[in-house]
């Protein structure tokens, strides 16, 4: 058991984020009209947390320099040392958590920049927006470090509760309000199902600690696969499925994604998904490691349904925001493949493929939503497909960006989306489930129709009447432009040179799987 000082060190990045959230809330009541400072405080907090995590990562790894990490040579020194555990084994800060923390901070900073255009018109609510956003990220950090059912539950709720409020952020807007109510009811229901599953897992094993559960389960031998265990894992999978909007628990997603403010939608589709995936990756691969058959079977059903239904429902959508919502469901299906591969064979690269894909997906999807925010900032825009027709002539750079993100989301080389899918599908084939990979490839081909149709509209359709560019009253939002540019650069750079992210993702997993 680690001493108190060490425990604080273990969750230091999370403490930095949470304290920044408190600071933002309080600063909001003191700065009067000068609210522009709030996003800067929030971003500074995230950068500080990322710096703390990076420093700790380098310390644990004894890496020569950051350069080794960037060039991929650092992978040789990854692994070896155990992660630090704190709070009586409730949390453990390992390389997995470092990777995730850095990823979450990137997601947070991109979202803050993206929300620039949006928040300029709603200055009064800036404090709540950035404060809640930071709290969600603190919860996501908690998901990444949790090694105990109690800690997992608290992190899950910390990640979820502020999101309900963010979804309903447009007070007075009926659709945003409806999104909030739907998201709240579905989310609260799913967390109740999840925590009941956790309670049953505790009933089956008598332990709440991941390692303790695994030990108790292996001690039970053949008795471990009792009805109680199956029900517990299925409940956990259902709660998880709700949160990542896996079919058949996806009912809330399209309405919520459409109704919520676009920066929030971008954040939810990437951040919440990443938080849920890393948290349950840890739960499944550590606590339920001996029960791979059970949860792999449950997740396989979810994955097939999610990929097929998510893509099929995205096909007829002519509202871009809604189309991206359904495609986000489909991407959750691809990500599930990585988890299944890990469950089928622990040696497979499934988990590191999940981590890589989460990184890749962050840039692609925040970029795609960012383009929508950007267009809306420049002219009247209701997210219709017809409205972006001929955009290549009126806003050429925006059109290039949009095309880039769409092609990457489809998974066409040499962009990062291709590598993400490549590693996921390779992992599932290596795990001996080729038929799943075939389903995934076929569904990717289906997705090409609705992604590339957008590109077709951008370049080969005539612009509709009244589509000329009108500068926004509040002025151009530089933050949003920077966020989209960074995302585009990320998609391009990591597509051409993916090895740093891959080696980081692989190194992050060594500790977890014990390789």
């Amino acid at each position: 058991m680690a001493d108190a000082n060490n425990s604080v060190l273990v969750i230091l990045p999370g403490i930095v984020i949470a304290c920044t959230a408190l600071l933002v809330f309080m600063a909001d009541t003191f700065v009067g009209r000068r609210k522009e400072i709030l996003p800067w405080i929030a971003a500074a907090g995230l950068v500080a947390a990322a710096a703390v995590a990076a420093a700790q990562w380098l310390d644990v790894d004894e890496l020569g320099s950051l350069w080794d990490l960037v060039t991929g040579r650092g992978s040789a020194v990854f692994g070896g040392r155990e992660g630090e555990a704190g709070f009586a084994g409730m949390v453990a800060l390992d390389k997995f958590a470092f990777y995730c923390t850095l990823l979450f901070c990137v997601i947070g900073v991109l979202t803050i920049m993206l929300s620039d255009a949006y928040m300029k018109k709603r200055r009064d609510a800036m404090g709540e927006f950035y404060g809640l956003l930071l709290l969600v990220i603190a919860g996501m950090f908690g998901m990444a470090v949790s090694t105990d059912l109690i800690a997992l539950f608290i992190a899950f709720e910390l990640m979820s509760l502020p999101t309900y409020v963010l979804a309903g952020f447009l007070r007075g807007d009926v659709r945003s309000g409806e999104a909030a109510v739907k998201y709240f009811v579905n989310g609260a229901f799913s967390s109740a199902v999840l925590v009941f599953g956790l309670a049953l897992l505790y009933a089956a094993s008598g332990q709440t600690n991941y390692a303790g559960i695994a030990e108790a389960m292996s001690g039970l031998g053949a008795d471990a696969e009792s009805g109680l265990t199956v029900v517990a894992l299925v409940f956990v999978a259902v709660g998880f499925g709700f949160k990542i909007a896996a079919v058949p628990f996806h009912g809330w997603a399209p309405d919520v994604y459409e109704g919520a403010p676009t920066p929030v939608t971008a954040f939810m589709s990437v951040g919440i998904k990443a938080g849920a995936f890393v948290g349950f990756l840890k739960l499944f691969t550590i606590a339920a490691v001996g029960l791979g058959d059970i949860w792999t079977a449950a997740l396989t059903v979810l994955a097939v349904l999610t990929m097929v239904v998510g893509n099929a429902l995205a096909l007829p959508q002519r509202n871009l925001k809604r189309m991206l919502a359904y495609s986000s469901i489909a991407h959750a299906g691809y990500l599930l493949l990585g988890l299944i591969a890990t469950g089928a064979s622990l040696d497979s690269a499934g988990s590191s493929a999940v981590l890589f894909y989460l990184g890749a997906y962050t840039f692609m999807n925040i970029g795609a939503f960012g383009i929508l925010v950007w267009i809306r900032n420049r002219r009247a825009f209701r997210y219709g497909l017809d409205e972006v027709a001929g955009l290549a002539r009126t806003m050429p750079w925006t059109a290039i960006g949009m095309a880039l993100f769409m092609v990457s989301l489809t998974g066409i080389p040499p962009l990062v989306g291709f590598w993400g899918k490549f590693y996921l599908f390779t992992a599932i084939v290596d795990a001996g489930m080729t038929w799943l990979a075939i389903v995934a490839v076929v569904m990717s081909a289906v997705s090409a129709y609705y992604y590339l149709r957008v590109v077709w509209y951008l370049y080969f359709r005539e612009a509709p009447e009244g589509a000329e560019v009108v500068a926004d009253d509040a002025g151009p939002a530089l933050g949003s432009a920077v966020a989209v540019t960074l995302a585009a650069l990320g998609v391009l750079a990591l597509g051409l040179y993916p090895s740093p992210l891959i080696s980081a993702a692989q190194g992050a997993l060594r500790v977890l799987i014990g390789g």
């Binding site: 608290i154 309903g168 709240f184 925590v195 009941f196 505790y202 009933a203 303790g212």
Partner: protein
Amino acid sequence: MNPLDWWLLLAVLLFCIGAFGVLARRNTILVIMSLELMLNAVNIALVAVAQFRAGSAGAGVLFSLFVITVAAAEVTVGLGIVIANYRAKRTVQADRFDEMKG
């Protein structure tokens, strides 16, 4: 059946009643109450396991404390959202609230 099974059965029954309430009720306030019922079922299961299961760590009692507080936070957020919608729709009729759930 040993005592733990009876308690778990009670928890499952309560949980199912709550789940039915969430799925069947149209009034958001009643939905929130049903959610509370589900979480209380979880508490019963946790405390029963901590009490009756041989060789279990006592963490279940601690877990239930966290579930209680999180449930309170959840209700607060839920009611806050409901009130915000109430204000936005400028209506005082409780049954007009159903429009929010489609």
